[in-house]
Symmetry: C2
Subunit: 238 residues, 2 copies
DNA sequence: TGACAATGACTGACCAGTCAGTCAATATTA
DNA sequence: TAATATTGACTGACTGGTCAGTCATTGTCA
């Protein structure tokens, strides 16, 4: 065994082909660079960097840190390997920066102004539906799995994740729970001690999707509603 | 970066030293081989295999599949690298067999006769306490994390885990939930549709322990009791 | 044209897996 | 029982392939 591992193959779209053959078509005006023809250097550099980030995330998710080959990342990004090193110091810092970058949108959500209208249950339910739709069923979910997988070997990443995502998320959830208790929607006052319970099914859904979806699909949103019924009591009609 | 990675160092006890220098001490009788002097070949082989399994599990847990070096496993087991290949076909099948072997005790638990006495809540609580004590806080928990980490790259393992552990565990839990519903202990009949909810906090605890324990210790058993309160209603006194 | 971006062939370290040789344990013979 | 032969478990140096990271060369923009 050398090439053929247990690793599920990654298709690797060939990325946009190399530059359009030199002198061809001057169809678009020199300045009005639309989507296709990248204008100046800086712009192109940004574009390439994005392509690298994109490709690297896909590879890291599919193979994990160690098994990912930078040659593959380069090929997938449509770039030479050396180009990667114009943007990142080495594989390790590239990985860390990637994860950090990928988490920013999630962190953004946590700060998003909670739509204070409606019941606490509606707030939690809306939040969870968002989370499940945008995380559990997308590549962001794989990032969470990636953190679980590589966290112990990258303490810096686990620390960052705890600080920026977990502790903030739990604090927000705790506040929401306390609001629910104050309003009389939630009767179990102990729940505020373990906000983890509130989000547990959502996380289970993330893991389930990437490991067992093909064995037994899981309707995460439906499951979460049942979970909320436990906490807030059975829903009226809806 | 070549040797010094982000990898948290693993101490690696040097294992028992090579055979005691030839003619030394005949302190113990030739047949009554106690713990120290391994008697015949077969016995020694079994012992060595066990040492390899032990060492390999530690390394795989600490570093993951790809980053684990068989040289290190051999060193830790106090054995030459070639010896590993007397017991396992290659690294990959070694990994798979290890995981399978490590799961057997867990599978055993799932089949254990449920102590039918007492309430359903007591049964679940007893089961969960066991699980948290024996899995969440031990190396078995790391194995669960390892499966989450490597599962997507080892479909065979994910399949095995689903078939032997997950589906059986959930089926058992569903039966328990239905019993609880029949007895009137559980009012939310929908819970039987998602037994995952029942075990979610226990799994969260497993992941929490290996990623965030040092940031914020989590009393998993306490948390699980609160979770059960949601399902069965607040506990009387106890 | 000068300055910088991009390339990809190359290097050296690393590691899974091999195999010829060793030697303690066991079997056989005298 | 002692001397000798046979076995096969065990070893570890070695091979072949892989891959992170480098850098001289080439291409491109302003």
């Amino acid at each position: 065994m050398s090439k053929t591992g247990p690793i599920t193959e990654v298709p690797a779209k060939p990325a946009r082909s190399r530059r359009v053959a030199s002198g061809a078509v001057a169809a678009n005006s020199p300045k009005a660079a639309a989507a296709k023809a990248p204008a100046n250097r800086a712009e192109r550099a940004v574009e390439r960097r994005a392509a690298i980030v994109e490709a690297a995330l896909d590879e890291f998710i599919a193979r994990g840190f160690t098994a990912t080959r930078l040659d593959d990342v380069a090929k997938r990004a449509g770039v030479a390997k050396g180009t990667i090193y114009l943007h990142f110091k080495d594989k390790e810092s590239m990985f860390e920066e990637l994860i950090r970058t990928a988490l920013v949108p999630m962190i953004g959500r946590l700060h998003a102004p909670p739509p204070s209208g409606g019941s606490v249950r509606d707030m939690v339910e809306g939040f969870a539906e968002n989370f499940i739709r945008e995380v559990a069923s997308t590549r962001r979910g794989d990032i969470v799995r990636l953190i679980v997988a590589e966290g112990p070997r990258f303490p810096a990443i686990a620390d960052f994740y705890y600080r920026e995502v977990v502790s903030r998320g739990l604090a927000g959830m705790r506040a929401l729970i306390e609001l629910g208790i104050a309003r009389g929607e939630i009767r179990h006052t102990n729940l505020a001690r373990f906000p983890q319970i509130m989000v547990a099914p959502a996380l289970i859904a993330v893991i389930w999707q990437s490991l067992f979806a093909k064995h037994a699909p899981l309707d995460a949103i439906d499951m979460f509603r049942v979970h909320l019924d436990l906490i807030f009591g059975e829903r009226r009609t809806a």
